[in-house]
């Protein structure tokens, strides 16, 4: 069953309105002498909204957004570049892949958050410790996808390209690279998401700027309104980045069949 777009939007807004109403009532209307959602722990929707507006109007938020964005982009770019290079190398040299296999598995199994203190020790409280954390997250996603992409090149496409007379370099450019990229881009959302997680978690654990820092500071002084405002801005920020990634993806993967939309 398909909903009319306007009706769908109405229902989506309705969910938000009801949730906010419950929140507002729970925080302001005592039921049986008790608040369901005490303001101290849950704040109030209106307070959160005005805090968000205030953060933007005063301009303090821009600096934090910029820092988090910078960390995210750097983590994504460095992690992807590393993942692509190592992924290609391992896929084309099975011996290297076999030697490093247990260590790759070991590092990947490690919850990356425990690395944060080490990175802070090594790289200080500036952006680079956060970038490093993001890189360790992004790297493995891209690495596994590129590795798979190179390994899973259709043998027929490869044989056909060889029969055309492609050299190793031409094969790389025309066959291996596009195949690996298609795999990498299919994980683009996940990779960008993890870059952001690395940045925010890193900030949260120790920094002097960024959205994670903002939330951590508010939490430190029991400023629940500040925590919720930070979370709200973070969520909106992720949506914007995700929208941008979707645009890039559409542009780069035009050659791929759309899952079901074109089937009829």
């Amino acid at each position: 069953m398909k909903l009319h777009p306007a009706k769908l939007l109405f229902l989506q807004v309705l969910v938000a309105v009801i949730a906010l109403a419950i929140w507002q009532i729970g925080a302001t209307v005592p039921i049986g002498g008790d608040y369901l959602l005490p303001e101290f722990f849950f704040s109030k929707p209106w307070d959160v909204l005005s805090r968000v507006v205030q953060l933007f109007v005063s301009g303090t938020i821009w600096k934090h957004l910029w820092i988090t964005l910078t960390e995210t982009v750097l983590a994504f770019v460095i992690g992807s570049a590393g993942g692509v290079v190592i992924g290609f190398w391992f896929a084309r040299k099975p011996v290297v892949a076999a030697v490093f296999d247990p260590y790759v598995k070991m590092f990947n199994a490690l919850p990356r958050v425990v690395l944060a203190p080490i990175f802070m020790l090594w790289l200080g409280l500036g952006i680079w410790s956060k970038v490093a954390l993001g890189v360790t997250l992004v790297f493995f996603i891209v690495f596994f996808n590129v590795y798979q992409g190179v390994k899973e090149v259709s043998p027929v496409v490869l044989a056909n390209a060889r029969m055309m007379g492609m050299s190793e370099r031409q094969l790389f450019r025309n066959v291996y690279w596009p195949s690996a990229m298609s795999w990498m881009f299919s994980s683009l959302h996940t990779a960008v998401g993890f870059a952001l997680v690395g940045a925010v978690v890193g900030e949260y654990l120790g920094s002097s700027a960024g959205l994670g820092y903002l939330i951590h500071q508010a939490e430190g002084v029991f400023d629940v309104t500040g925590v919720f405002a930070g979370m709200f801005i973070l969520a909106a920020f992720v949506l914007v980045i995700d929208w941008f990634v979707t645009r890039v993806e559409r542009r780069l993967l035009v050659w791929r069949p759309q899952a079901a939309s074109e089937q009829n």
Partner: protein
């Protein structure tokens, strides 16, 4: 049956007039799978294809005819025997041959036009020139309006046309075709067959056309070579096809001579084919 084959050595000619495009002499092919005895796919076999000759290789599914084609392409190293291309022993990939695969072999990330043009570009042709020739060839296979489509936006038959253009644009001296129209429906197969013959008639390349469809083989070729069921497949028949050209692959099937040839070849093959197909055949 051996007598029907041209003897090896009678045409070890120097490249030039009358040179053999493909000479397989006592070629045998084996596969080594770990932990199992060596699988002898093709017993020592000789097959000669003259320049400009259209040879169809027919045999039951899995008899090693594709293997023989891959050995000619240089994609596979024979266990024994010699492969010569225009009198020269084949080393590495066969640069004089174009290969049309059974499965989809187009690069899915390139448009139809780019798929054809790349075949020239890798040889050093300038892009503008490659694109112009690519357009011309796509026009010849009837896809002038589909140059900007990606493979997934084309039908199976259209993809085969692009693949055909991709192979022919390089102007190979030898055309190797591995059940190229196998996955297509009957009507499309006949249309593709007629298209292939029309394009082939322009400059008559040597063709090795592998198929399991005897009718298709007779309709297209100058000579039908029959392979036995594997393992240790070998050539068990070699029949010249004297039907007049140009042919229409649909109309030719109504020709009395076509039926005569079909019956002749079939009578000799029956035992072999029934052995492989079992109860499936009448």
């Amino acid at each position: 049956m051996e007598t029907a084959l041209r003897r090896p050595g009678d045409a070890m000619a120097s490249p030039g007039a009358g040179a053999l495009a493909v000479a397989l002499d006592d070629v045998s092919i084996s596969f080594a799978i770990k932990g199992r005895p060596v699988f002898k796919a093709v017993a020592p076999t000789s097959l000669h294809v003259g320049d400009g000759e259209f040879v169809a290789i027919v045999g039951p599914t899995g008899c090693g005819k594709s293997t023989l084609l891959n050995a000619t392409a240089g994609l596979l190293k024979p266990a024994g025997g010699r492969v010569s291309i225009f009198g020269e022993p084949l080393a590495g990939l066969n640069a004089k041959a174009g290969y049309l695969f059974q499965q989809d072999a187009l690069m899915p990330w390139k448009t139809a036009l780019d798929n054809v043009a790349i075949a020239l570009e890798i040889g050093g042709t300038r892009r503008a020139e490659a694109l112009a020739q690519g357009r011309e060839w796509l026009g010849r296979v009837g896809l002038a309006r589909f140059t900007d489509r990606y493979p997934h936006e084309l039908s199976g038959g259209q993809r085969k046309r692009v693949a055909l253009a991709q192979v022919l644009v390089r102007d190979p001296k030898i055309l190797l075709m591995d059940e190229p129209f196998g996955p297509l429906d009957a009507q499309t197969r006949q249309i593709m067959g007629t298209l292939l013959l029309r394009l082939w008639a322009r400059d008559r390349k040597a063709v090795m056309f592998v198929t399991h469809d005897l009718e298709e083989a007779i309709a297209l070729s100058d000579r039908v070579v029959i392979m036995s069921a594997g393992p240790e497949a070998r050539i068990i028949g070699d029949f010249p096809i004297d039907l007049a050209r140009p042919r229409d692959t649909a109309d030719i099937r109504l020709d009395p001579r076509f039926h005569q040839l079909h019956r002749e070849i079939w009578n000799q093959l029956k035992a072999e084919v029934v052995k492989t197909y079992g109860e499936e055949m009448p």
